[in-house]
């Protein structure tokens, strides 16, 4: 009873928090300064995501601050920031990228502390913000099967089920030897089941392809019955096809995207206001309804019914930047 009351109180306070932040005179000064700056330059590795653009547009409408967007792949974003800063060109304000790349950029001194964002108090474990990085949204990985090719009884329940003989030569997969979803899957399976899982999976002769969007469609067309790891945020676009995402009983590997302020950002206040806005429940709900796991409380409960059971599953694990290169090398040895 007391527990329930505390939970309700916590949820109530969480809902009040953004409003409180917005009425806080100190924060209002930041908002005013941001509006005066009038512009925000975002470097993002979410190439071509319509959901992110929805949130960016909502920010422009709410604050009247114009967003300029530079989209590229993770390593390209990083290299542009690095060479620009080395040449004394400080163009970007916000860096939005995977947690590994963000960690590397923080280590290399490409980022600066954000200066405090009220809505970080809404962030739910296992995610947490620090003085520089703010969790943005989370990509969760599942199995993808072709409904016409896999009978209900044959659907994998555990990640280990894909090691069975009926899947030999029938698995299409993102490459574990390259940075991306495949590498995340490799690390999490290694940490969960050990090296023998991968040795057995290698014996299944998975076919690797890095063209993720096309791989998912190849499964839908019946070229392969199974694809791993499937990013749940792609489900919304494909749900009318004969596919089904499955989160096995052990849980789902995930990778976090972070927001950070770039060193010497020309519009630091706009960057802070944007980060705060990004952590609002309404914005997180846009991502959750697209298949991303939200990082704040109060969003998962409101997500669409077809996605909620998938997103509410256990978070199995994620990559650790410090081990990334060693794990890629190990993957190369196992999957020759």
């Amino acid at each position: 009873m007391i527990k329930n009351a505390l939970a309700i109180l916590a949820a109530f306070l969480a809902l009040l928090a953004p409003a409180a932040a917005q009425t806080d005179p100190e924060w209002q000064k930041v908002v005013d300064a941001a509006k005066k700056e009038g512009k925000l330059v975002i470097y993002t590795a979410t190439l071509g995501s319509a959901y992110h653009k929805t949130v960016f547009k909502a920010f422009e409408d709410k604050y009247g601050i114009r967003i300029e967007l530079l989209e590229a792949r993770a390593s390209e974003v990083r290299e542009r920031v690095r060479i620009e800063q080395a040449a004394g060109r400080f163009v970007g304000d916000i860096h939005h990228n995977g947690s590994t790349t963000t960690w590397l950029m923080m280590r290399d001194g490409n980022l600066q502390p954000h200066g405090g964002v009220p809505n970080v108090k809404n962030i739910v474990p296992p995610f947490e913000a620090d003085a520089t990085r703010i969790p943005a949204e989370v990509i969760s990985y599942a199995l993808l099967i072709n409904r016409n090719m896999v009978k209900l009884a044959d659907e994998p329940k555990s990640w280990k089920d894909i090691l069975g003989p009926k899947w030999t030569g029938k698995i299409l997969s993102d490459d574990y030897r390259a940075l991306g979803g495949g590498a995340v899957f490799f690390v999490v399976m290694y940490d969960t089941f050990g090296k023998q899982f991968h040795e057995a999976l290698a014996a299944q002769k998975p076919v690797f392809s890095r063209d993720i969007a096309n791989s998912e469609r190849r499964v839908a067309r019946g070229e392969f019955p199974l694809y791993i790891p499937f990013s749940l945020q792609d489900y919304g676009q494909l749900k009318s096809l004969p596919i089904k995402p499955i989160v096995p009983q052990e849980g789902r590997p995930y990778v976090r995207f972070d927001l950070a302020t770039l060193k010497n950002a020309p519009h630091p206040n706009a960057a802070r206001v944007f980060m705060n806005f990004y952590l609002e429940v309404d914005q997180q709900l846009v991502f959750a309804n697209a298949g991303y796991n939200p990082v704040v409380k109060g969003a998962i409960e409101r997500v669409n019914e077809d996605l909620r059971p998938l997103l509410a599953t256990k978070a199995l694990g994620t990559t650790v930047p410090e081990r990334q290169d060693a794990m890629l090398e190990l993957a190369k040895k196992i999957y020759k």
Binding site: V41, G48, L70, S75, A86, L104, R177, L179, A213
Partner: protein, 577 residues
């Protein structure tokens, strides 16, 4: 002023200095500076990257680790794969392209005008689209071709599997065949037929004439096209990554891509070293070409008038017609038909009535970013292709028709960008332009893209125009000079006028090269200066391949328009020769 300075120095030194400060000397120096900035400067940045443990701007140390890594068994296999695949596809493409060019330009095959446009279409389709189409047509499991085969024969086996060496070569050939064809067809057309007629009059058969006269005279243009095609093959990415990587076939570019984008810490040192290794290999090829052509004459356009006519093939013209149609059917109708069909369905490959839609066309029409990128690309395409052809025309003149000092350096500088894989050179441009003094407003503007495109297109412009110049007799030019025309007048009124068809082809090749260029564009664009290739990449990775195919089809319409105008123009010029 020149005379005064020269008079102060004795003998040859004074004369050399006099030449140096003359108009020609200044012109040569300016050209070297421009080409140096466009090619040597980004290359120098890359060379630094290959010798330094970290990229520019980060503390590190100089070492040879990048080059030492070239000699691992993995990299040597990758090199062998790259050379082997590129060689096979270039040889096959060259043979096919020469046959098609000869059919179109030198025979009375019916419908040649339309066939010429149709044959070249594959070159202008974004490779990722044809790769998608072929993955649907030729995959071993559910590919349309195999399904039809199984249905017809009852066999369980697949007759086609595009995920193989053959698939990689086949997909590359769809680009290199029309590319070489575009290169050689106008040279075939501009050839004085009296040479072939003389051969026939002297008793040679059709085959002997084709082999000993036609092909022999086309040697500069065919070897140029072959080398360009071979080099492009070594730098090709899409075919290998689509059809090779899933079955363990790695090539130079997929290896570089892995070094740059697939590791937690991008390894620019290895990537740039691989790029320079490829460059050394390609230099060897160029030297071979120079030896092959050195000291021989390939003049086919002389001061004497001639009327271009064609060989009467009799009934065999229907055979040649069939060859062209077969090429068109396999390389254009099949994949484009698949794309066209798919563009009207919600998803690629799902042809159900309830999935019929015009949404993809509507979405592209409504996409403001697409139209902004389209505008930027058109501007860059027109300005870039024109500037590149102007620069290429001058460089080709100096390297092929003069004995001026510095011409070899100019030739090498103009070639350099072609010999470095695009994704590495893109980094060179990024490093080069970003580290320029801030007072030079290039980085982050359309200028950065324009300059990169000019650098990337110049080798094509030089090859196209120099091959055409080599066919023009020197006496025409001398005649012009004797009659008092200046250097610029002779270049414009004689050489450029006679080589117009080649200029038109070069312009189109460069224009559509700009439309497709991605490696440099993704690293150099800024908010507001997006180009079409970047927007297409965003759509593709954003899970909208159907909308990308709509853009690909729009590009095809553009190609048809351009080619129609170009061919009308070329024919008009030819008829006035």
């Amino acid at each position: 002023m020149t005379t005064t300075v020269a008079a102060n120095f004795p003998g040859r030194t004074a004369a050399s200095l006099g030449r140096l400060v003359s108009g020609r000397g200044i012109g040569i120096a300016a050209l070297i500076v421009i080409l140096g900035f466009l090619s040597l400067y980004p290359m120098a940045m890359l060379f630094y990257g290959s010798l330094h443990s970290t990229p520019p701007g980060i503390a590190g140390e100089f070492n040879l680790d990048g080059y030492a890594a070239l000699f691992t068994a993995e990299n040597l296999t990758v090199m062998a794969n790259t050379v082997g695949i590129s060689l096979v596809k270039s040889v096959l493409s060259l043979a096919l392209a020469i046959l098609l060019a000869w059919i179109i330009a030198r025979t009375d095959t019916p419908g040649r005008g339309a066939l010429e446009v149709l044959i070249t279409l594959p070159f202008f389709i974004p490779p990722i689209l044809t790769a998608t189409a072929w993955a649907m047509l030729g995959n071993a499991q559910v590919g349309t071709i195999n399904l039809v085969w199984r249905w017809l024969t009852g066999s369980e086996a697949a007759i086609v599997d595009v995920f193989s060496y053959g698939g990689v070569v086949w997909h590359m050939m769809q680009y290199s065949t029309p590319f070489i064809f575009l290169f050689v067809v106008d040279a075939f057309r501009a050839m004085d037929p009296s040479l072939e007629e003389s051969s026939r009059m002297s008793g040679a058969t059709r085959w002997q004439t084709f082999w000993r006269i036609t092909i022999a005279l086309m040697l500069p243009v065919t070897t140029s096209a072959f080398i360009l095609s071979f080099i492009r093959g070594m730098e090709s990415f899409e075919s290998a990554v689509f059809f090779g990587t899933p079955v363990g076939i790695n090539v130079l570019t997929t290896q570089i891509y892995q070094s740059i984008t697939q590791r937690a810490q991008p390894d620019y040192q290895s990537a740039t070293a691989l790029g320079f290794a490829a460059m050394a290999l390609m230099f060897g090829l160029l030297i071979q070409q120079s030896r092959l052509l050195g000291g021989r004459s390939f003049t086919t356009v002389t001061g004497k008038g001639y009327s271009p006519n064609v060989m009467q093939l009799g009934w065999m013209r229907w055979l040649t017609f069939g060859i062209c149609i077969a090429f068109f059917a396999v390389t254009v109708a099949l994949p484009i038909g698949q794309l066209l069909l798919s563009s009207f369905f919600q998803f690629f490959g799902f042809y159900q009535l309830d999935m019929l839609t015009l949404d993809h066309y509507h979405n592209v029409w409504q996409n403001r970013e697409f139209w902004r990128a389209f505008g930027n690309t058109m501007l860059l395409g027109v300005c870039g292709a024109t500037a590149t052809m102007a620069l290429g025309g001058i460089v080709a003149y100096i390297t092929t028709r003069t004995l001026w000092r510095g011409r070899r350096l100019i030739d090498i500088l103009a070639w350099l960008p072609w010999m470095m894989p695009g994704m590495v050179l893109g980094i060179g441009f990024l490093w080069g332009f970003a580290t320029l003094p801030h007072e030079i407003p290039i980085y982050g503007t359309l200028w950065a893209l324009l300059l990169a495109y000019v650098a990337l297109g110049t080798p094509v412009a030089v090859r196209v125009t120099s091959s055409a110049y080599q066919q023009i007799a020197k006496d025409i030019e001398e005649c012009s000079r004797v009659h008092g025309a200046g250097w610029w007048q002779t270049l414009g009124r004689i050489l450029v006028a006679l080589a117009w068809p080649a200029f038109a082809v070069g312009w189109v090749l460069i224009f559509f090269g700009i439309m497709r260029e991605l490696s440099a564009s993704i690293l150099l664009y800024a908010p507001g200066t997006e180009v079409l290739s970047v927007v297409m990449l965003k759509m593709w990775t954003g899970g909208k391949p159907e909308e990308v195919s709509v853009i690909g089809l729009l590009m095809l319409v553009l190609v048809l328009m351009f080619r129609w105008v170009q061919l009308r123009f070329v024919k008009k010029r030819i008829s006035t020769l």
